[in-house]
């Protein structure tokens, strides 16, 4: 019997599924999800970034309590403006001793945000698929802003993040387990348990309820 390639196929499938899992984790962290405490018949859920940020927010809907217990209530979307961004950045400046790392937005609002600096919007339209994802660095009188697109976040949000104020904490790091055979196939399970920790939500910001042009 020629088993050539079976180990390769198993490793390939495990790598693909691990990648899917990583994407799922990122999408959950950027979704609008409140925490759920686990029980015998209830799967636990981590509170997402959006259920933490409440201090520096430009919004139409309702802010969450800010401890992860409830999600945001979305409001009617409006166009992203420079004034909204400046107000939230000023709030972060006042409420935190640290600088922001990035402005994270959906692809369509990255083009809008790039336009805030004037002139650059037309040449650097990210809908041009020939261009790979980039970090756009804007230098101002008082701050440097890095604009990055994220395809897994909601297009209605623009997040101003300080990486050092967040961490992913693992109760059980992802590992693979062999499952019992029920047929000819080999089965594996990838399992892990994590949560998102907010060290200080007031050092971050959010422009919520945005249209996706």
């Amino acid at each position: 019997m020629n088993k050539a390639g079976r180990r390769t196929e198993l490793a390939y499938q495990l790598t693909k599924r691990a990648k899917e899992l990583k994407i799922d984790i990122e999408a959950i962290m950027l979704s609008n999800q409140a925490k759920v405490v686990g029980a015998a018949a209830t799967a636990p859920k981590a509170a997402s970034v959006l259920s933490w940020i409440k201090t520096n927010v430009s919004h139409v809907g309702t802010n969450p309590t800010g401890d992860g217990t409830d999600a945001r209530v979305d409001g009617t979307p409006r166009a992203f403006t420079e004034a909204m961004l400046k107000t939230v950045m000023a709030g972060v400046y006042t409420n935190s001793s640290e600088d922001l790392d990035v402005l994270m937005v959906g692809a369509s609002n990255k083009a809008v945000a790039s336009g805030f600096s004037g002139g650059a919007q037309k040449t650097y339209d990210v809908s041009d698929r020939k261009l790979v994802t980039t970090i756009d660095v804007y230098v101002g009188d008082f701050s440097t802003v890095r604009i990055i697109p994220n395809r897994f976040m909601r297009v209605r949000d623009a997040l101003l993040l300080n990486w050092s104020l967040w961490s992913v904490d693992w109760l059980r790091p992802i590992r693979q387990e062999e499952l019992a055979k029920t047929g000819d196939a080999e089965k594996r399970m990838l399992v892990g348990e994590w949560t998102l920790r907010a060290n200080n939500e007031a050092g971050n910001g959010l422009v919520a309820d945005l249209t996706a042009p």
């Binding site: 790598t15 790392d101 002139g119 650059a120 650097y124 790979v132 980039t134 970090i135």
Partner: protein
């Protein structure tokens, strides 16, 4: 060893491939993208505009793959504000000049 396609992102143009060594069990994942369109856009923008806006100036446009390369080779994280002085230094190096669509002093 056979190279398998792991992921192709049509939006960003990023490719990832997978290789497995049956003898050693080593997995190799390669990730690449054609960054030339970004470099070309930076160069053409340079001719059209100085990048000066009302409140902020466009200083650099760094493809993700290059930022990842800097992280691995130099330990410099272009996504972090605290690494900006080191990023600034790299951007002033002639080797990376095409990451800048503008030439104002950083």
């Amino acid at each position: 060893m056979t190279e398998y396609l792991l992921n192709r992102d049509l939006q960003t143009g990023i490719y990832e491939t997978f290789e497995f060594d049956e003898a050693t069990g080593d997995i190799t994942i390669r990730r690449w993208a054609d960054v030339q369109p970004v470099l070309d856009a930076n160069k053409s923008f340079h001719l059209e505009s100085d990048g000066k806006g009302k409140t902020a100036w466009l200083a650099a446009r760094i493809p993700d793959n290059i930022a990842q390369d800097w992280l691995v080779r130099f330990g410099i994280n272009a996504w972090k504000g605290e690494h900006w002085p080191a990023v600034k230094k790299l951007l002033q190096d002639p080797e990376w000049r095409n990451l800048r669509p503008t030439s104002f002093k950083l």
